[in-house]
Amino acid sequence: MIEFNGVTKSFGPKHVLRGVDLTIPRGTSMVVIGGSGTGKSVLLKCVLGLIKPDGGSITVEGGEGHDRDAFLARFGMLFQGGALFDSLPVWQNVAFRLLRGALARPRDEAKAIAVEKLRRVGLSPDVADLFPAELSGGMQKRVGLARAICAEPEIIFFDEPTTGLDPIMAGVINELVREIVTEMGATAMTITHDMTSVRAIADNVAMLHDGKIRWTGPVSEMDASGDPYLDQFIHGRAEGPIAAVR
C-alpha cells in the first residue's frame, strides 16, 4: 500500500503539488491522469525520495519511507524518457540488478533472463547486444519497461509506458502491465495520457489537477463521475473548465 498525505512541493514560486491525498491499496493498479505539466512525474519521484516533498507524508506498505534501501530493493520504475544507461548494451541495462549487488548471478543466466524479459515487451533477442542509442524511441521505452520488471518487483511505477508506441505495441504493453499486477500481485502506479491504456490497465483512476487530486475512484465509475474536469479530460475537449493555455 502506498499512501500520500497532504504532499506539497514547489519549485521556487511554482507550486506544483498543493496537498495530494491518495491511497493505492496493495496489489492494485492505480492510473494517474492529468494535464501535461501538472506534476505527475514529480509525484512519482517524491515516493522514491528522488525529489523531497516540502510538506506532507508518504507511507509505503505501512512502514515509513525511512528504510529506502529495503523499499528500493523490491521496486521497479520506468522513466518517462527511458533513462537507459547509454554506456551499457541493452541486455546489461535490462539485467542491471542481476549483474551486481544483492541479486547478482552468473552473467549468462542474467543474460538469458534479460532476453526473456525483452521478448515479453515485444523485442527480439538480437536487440540484446545493441546499445540504447541504436534503438528507436519506442524500442528504448520498451527496454526501459523490461528493465523495470526484470527483478520481479512488488511495487512498480510506469511513467507513460505507451507514449511513442504504435497502437498494436501499446496494446501489448497494456496487457503486460495488467498481467504483472494480476499474476505477480504487484502494486502498480501508472501515469498515462492514453485513455485506452487507462481502461486496460487501471483498477482505480486518479486525476491530478491544480496540484491536488481532483477525482479518484474505480475505473468503472470514471465515465459517470459527473465531474466536469474529468469529463473534459476523458473526452479530450478543448472547451471546458480546464484552460487550454497553462
Binding site: K45, L48, G49, L50, D69, L72, A73, F75, G76, M77, F79, Q80, G81, A83, L84, F85, D86, S87, F96, R97, R100, G101, A102, R147
Partner: protein, 257 residues
C-alpha cells in the same frame, strides 16, 4: 573598485567551491570504505584514465623535455653546459613540469569527459534510474573513477618524467652534440629520491583532483545541454586552478622546509 569586488567575489566563490569539493571528497571516502565495490567500473576507469592517456602524456613530455634542453642550452651555454643542461632538465621535468603538465593534460582529457558523461547521465535521469535500481551513484560512478585516477596518474607522471628526460637527452645528444654517457650520468647523479617521491605524490593528488572535480561538476550539473556544457567548463577550469594551487602548496611542503 567594482573590478576589485568582482575579483573578490571570484576568490570567495573558489573558496566555497573548495569547501564543497572537500565535503564531496569525504563522502567519496566514506563510500570507498563501505561495500559494495564495483570492480568492473573500476577496471573500465583504469583503462580510460590510465592506459588511454598514455599517448598524450608521452607527447607532452617528449616535446617539453626537448624544448627545455634547447632553452637551457641557449641561456646557460656560457657556463658548464654539459652539466647544467641535464641537471636542470631532470630537476625541471621531475619536480615541476612532469607532474604539472600531466596533471593539466589529465584535467583536459579526463575531467572534461567525466564531467560531460556524468552530467549527461544526470540530465537524462540515468542517475535517478541508478537509485531506483538500488545502486548508489557515488559508489557506482565516483568511487571507481577517483580511485583509478589515484592509482594511474602517479604512474603516468613517472612515465612522463622519464620520457621528458629522454626528450632532453635526445635533443642534447642529437643536435647539441653532448656526450650521451655523460648526459645520463649527470642526470642520474643529480636527481635525489625526494625529487621522485614529490613527483609521484603530486601525481596522486592531481589525479584525485581531476577525477573528483569531474564527478562533482557532473553530479551537480544544471538541466539540459546547456547544463552539461556549463558543468564541463567549470569542472576543467576548477580542476586546472586547483591543480596549480596544490602544486604550489606541495612544492612548498617538499622543498622549502
Amino acid at each position: 573598485m567594482r573590478l576589485l569586488a568582482g575579483i573578490g567575489a571570484q576568490v570567495l566563490g573558489l573558496l566555497a567551491l573548495i569547501g564543497r569539493v572537500a565535503l564531496y571528497f569525504v563522502e567519496t571516502l566514506s563510500h570507498l570504505l563501505r561495500p559494495p565495490f564495483y570492480s568492473r567500473e573500476f577496471g573500465i576507469a583504469l583503462i580510460n584514465i590510465g592506459w588511454l592517456s598514455l599517448p598524450v602524456v608521452g607527447l607532452t613530455a617528449v616535446f617539453t623535455g626537448g624544448a627545455l634542453a634547447l632553452q637551457i642550452y641557449a641561456g646557460g651555454s656560457r657556463f658548464d653546459a654539459e652539466a647544467v643542461v641535464p641537471q636542470i632538465v631532470a630537476i625541471g621535468m621531475v619536480r615541476e613540469l612532469g607532474p604539472v603538465l600531466v596533471g593539466l593534460m589529465i584535467a583536459a582529457r579526463v575531467t572534461s569527459s567525466i564531467a560531460a558523461e556524468i552530467a549527461t547521465m544526470k540530465v537524462t535521469e540515468q542517475i535517478d534510474a541508478l537509485v531506483t535500481l538500488s545502486t548508489h551513484p557515488m559508489k557506482y560512478l565516483t568511487v571507481p573513477r577517483v580511485l583509478a585516477a589515484l592509482v594511474t596518474v602517479p604512474v603516468l607522471v613517472g612515465i612522463g618524467d622519464v620520457i621528458g628526460v629522454l626528450g632532453g637527452y635526445q635533443v642534447a645528444t642529437g643536435s647539441l652534440g653532448f656526450n650521451p654517457a655523460v648526459y645520463l650520468k649527470n642526470t642520474v647523479d643529480f636527481l635525489e629520491p625526494l625529487d621522485i617521491i614529490s613527483s609521484l605524490v603530486k601525481g596522486a593528488v592531481f589525479g584525485v583532483i581531476a577525477a573528483l572535480m569531474g564527478c562533482y561538476a557532473g553530479m551537480n550539473s544544471g538541466r539540459g545541454a546547456q547544463g552539461v556544457g556549463a558543468a564541463t567548463k567549470s569542472a576543467v577550469e576548477a580542476a586546472a586552478v586547483l591543480i596549480l594551487a596544490a602544486n604550489f602548496l606541495l612544492t612548498r611542503m617538499f622543498f622549502s622546509l
